[in-house]
């Protein structure tokens, strides 16, 4: 066996799993298939994949339940593939432990980027945990120095309030991943603060301080109705 990354595709539509398999194989991944939820759980136990692409609309078990079963005993990265444009479903999947999601129809490059990010996150720190003494974060012109609590864009230092700083650091430490509103609020304000309005106001302020054009952000992207994502690679 080679040490290729092994990806399990759980998808009942043969047409879709065929073309995903073709792209993944072309990008040097090893691919295994499952067409039902039960098969997915069995294959997972026997083959030990490195990442799962999970379709939420499965014929036997609801994809959300498959995700919950997987999360009971494994923390391996799961990317949810959802056909529905329902934000609530995405949030539910993320809160149930999915690492990321893609919405059908998706582009090849988008899918590959999500897979790379999920695998990198897995290789590094566990999902949504602060990295072990990572010294900083850099993307484009944005530099974050965790230890000195310093954020710069180009040469100019950015002055953030303590809360804004916490938010930016949280996003940077999970760069490439969507953090849901609820998750961010719990991390920043604690378990009993429940107002997403405050988070949005803070995000608007951060955008105005960090981005060249706050109307057209480069670094922190909004997934409307779901949460925020700090980019981890600059677009071409």
């Amino acid at each position: 066996m080679t040490n290729k990354v092994k990806i399990l595709i759980v998808e009942d539509e043969r047409v879709i799993s065929n073309f995903i398999a073709a792209i993944l194989a072309a990008n040097d991944y090893q691919v295994i298939h499952a067409t039902t939820g039960k098969e997915a759980i069995a294959v997972m136990a026997s083959h030990g994949p490195d990442l799962i692409l999970l379709d939420l609309g499965l014929p036997d078990i609801d994809g959300m339940n498959v995700l919950k079963v997987i999360r009971e005993w494994s923390s391996l990265p799961v990317i949810v593939v959802s056909a529905r444009q329902d934000e609530a479903e995405k949030v539910e999947a993320l809160d149930a432990g999915a690492n990321d999601y893609v919405t059908k129809p998706f582009g090849n490059s988008e899918l590959l980027a999500r897979i790379r990010t999920a695998i990198r996150q897995q290789a590094g720190p566990g999902r949504r945990l602060p990295p072990a003494q990572d010294s900083g974060f850099a993307i484009g012109e944005l530099r974050i120095d965790y230890a000195r609590r310093l954020i710069t864009v180009g040469d100019k230092p950015v002055h953030l309030t303590p809360i804004e700083h916490k938010i930016v650091v949280l996003l940077a430490q999970n760069a490439g991943m969507v953090l849901t509103h609820d998750y961010m609020i719990r991390q920043i304000w604690g378990p009993y603060a429940g107002d997403s309005q405050v988070l949005r106001v803070n995000m608007a302020n951060i955008r105005r301080k960090l981005e060249k054009n706050p109307a057209d952000p480069q670094y922190i992207l909004t997934e409307v109705g779901v949460g925020y994502r700090m980019i981890d690679t600059m677009p071409d």
Partner: protein, 526 residues
């Protein structure tokens, strides 16, 4: 008896005043007596005999008992008359003789008083009942007028309760549905400062109401021992169907017959009004349904026509690729590109159609959440950029954070449609401007380009679907499908209570803008 009287006086605030106070009646009596004494004294002086004068005394007693409500005044008048007659008229004057006829006079006077009093009482009772009836008829008439004018169920219920409470002075309740099936749906109301509605909410009372809804009439067992219940119920029935149940608190004692009749008559009118309302509701829902059916039909005709072309193209291109082994690489690539282009177009089309299903079928309303407008704008622009990597979109947002109640998927779809429109009608790489700002309580989104502009013949009905218009059948990226896209935009914006407009710019190119209310509930009339 006491109960009854107090009940009536509650209903008729004027009643007790009309019958006068104790003081006024005593004054009346004294005045009449004094007048009689003076009159008789004058008549005696001109030589009229005592036999005639006693008749005048008798008359005065009759007058007293007929103008006073209680027989007591008459009795007092009778006794006083007998004594004054003895004192003033019979010999010796200014002294009591207790003449032979004294007891007979007294008894006669008392009996006359008694008979007159009884007659007066009956008359007064009759008059009072007539007044009550008249008052009720008046109330029912007013009620009827108002009920006929009422346009919705809520108003009917409110009016009924208002009338019941003001007439009876007791808390009343109106159930439009079985409380066991939909708890919390009753319309309990109490009159001001007069008892509370707590009496209606006990489980036992709910059970009774439930039985009425289930049986279609009041439980016969209750009619037998009905007087002990805390609440009097009257079902609102039309064509054998219970449309509602009216309850009136019995805590102040059971209702008298007149008031029960009143409630029953009122209930009849309410039943009529509710029945009418049901009919008009049904009719308007049929009209809305047929309107929607028509729209759906137009949309479907227009879509199916537009879908067939790209599907045919995809089928043809893929079959060619499979069957023709010896194709030039160039041709292969071009065929595959065609497939992709057509598929992308189909996806956009389907997304547009799907958004329409998000608008609720019954109310044509959308599920709105408060969202930051700039975030929706930024995400939408990112989506369009991904689809058209060469397009140049510049975004401007205000310094102030604009929170707008909206369904983000739908508004995002509107922006996508407008931006794509601009991209398709502009030279590759031409600047497209998306401007967001606040304008008098609305969030205003502007999309402007410097492209070909809107064709003259489309300006008048830009947002209408026109299935009869010949669709250009050349390539995918023409104005084909634009009609549907814009009509969907208008549907979405209208469902948000906003407006959308489009026109050509003087400098060339087109400009579309739409307004969304910043406050929930503010609606622009179309």
């Amino acid at each position: 008896m006491r109960n009854n009287t107090s009940d009536v006086s509650l209903g008729f605030p004027g009643g007790s005043i009309r019958r006068g106070g104790k003081l006024r009646n005593t004054a009346r009596m004294v005045m009449i007596m004094l007048f009689t004494i003076v009159l008789c004294e004058l008549l005696r002086r001109i030589g009229i005999g005592p036999q005639s004068l006693i008749l005048i005394y008798m008359l005065s007693v009759l007058v007293v008992s007929s103008v006073t409500p209680s027989p007591a005044y008459g009795f007092v008048a009778a006794i006083v008359s007998t004594f004054t007659y003895d004192f003033f008229i019979t010999e010796p004057r200014f002294g009591f003789s207790f003449y032979v006829g004294f007891p007979i006079t007294l008894i006669t006077m008392l009996m006359a008083t008694f008979i007159t009093g009884t007659l007066t009482m009956t008359m007064q009772t009759q008059a009072r009942l007539a007044r009550e009836r008249e008052h009720r008829a008046q109330l029912l008439y007013e009620m009827n007028q108002k009920l006929l004018a009422a346009r919705d169920r809520g108003t009917i219920v409110e009016l009924t309760l208002e009338h019941l409470i003001s007439h009876l002075g007791r808390p009343a309740v109106f159930y439009t549905r079985d409380p066991n099936e939909s708890p919390g749906e009753d319309h309990a109301r109490a009159s001001e400062g007069n008892g509370d509605t707590g009496v209606f909410s006990s489980p036992e009372e709910r059970k009774r109401v439930h039985r009425i809804f289930a049986l279609g009439h009041t439980d016969p067992v209750e009619l037998i021992d009905g007087q002990d219940h805390l609440v009097y119920y009257e079902p609102v029935i039309s064509k054998g169907k219970v449309l509602g149940v009216i309850g009136i608190s019995n805590r102040e004692g059971p209702l008298n017959n007149g008031n029960q009749t009143f409630v029953q008559m009122l209930t009849g009118q309410v039943a009529l009004a509710l029945e009418l309302q049901n009919m008009s509701d049904e009719q308007s829902s049929i009209m809305v349904e047929s309107e929607r059916e028509k729209m759906r039909g137009t949309l479907l005709r227009s879509i199916s026509h537009d879908l067939r072309t790209p599907l045919t193209s995809i089928l043809g291109a893929s079959s060619t690729l499979l069957e023709q082994k010896e194709l030039a690489d160039e041709t292969r690539v071009s065929l595959v590109m065609d497939i992709r282009e057509n598929a992308e177009w189909l996806i956009r089309m389907v997304e547009n159609i799907l958004t329409v299903t998000r608008i609720s079928k019954d109310t044509r309303k959308v599920r709105k959440t408060l969202e930051a407008a700039e975030e929706v704008v930024a995400q939408t622009v990112a989506i369009v950029r991904k689809r058209f990597p060469r397009c140049l979109i510049h975004v401007r947002t205000p310094d102030e954070l604009l929170m707008v109640p909206m369904d983000t998927t739908l508004i995002s779809q509107v922006l996508i449609n407008l931006l794509e429109n601009s991209v398709r009608n502009s030279e590759p790489g031409a600047l497209i401007l998306l401007d967001l700002r606040k304008q008098c309580g609305y969030a205003r989104f502007d999309v402007s380009d410097s492209g070909r502009g809107i064709p003259e013949h489309m300006l008048d009905n830009l947002f209408e679907i026109n299935p009869t218009a010949p669709a250009p059948v050349e390539v995918v990226d023409t104005a084909r499908g634009m009609g549907i896209g814009l009509s969907i935009c208008r549907t979405i914006i209208a469902a948000h209570g906003g407006t959308i407009e489009g026109h050509n710019r003087k400098e060339g190119g087109a400009k579309f803008f739409f307004l969304l209310p910043l406050q929930e509930g503010e609606q622009l009339d179309e």
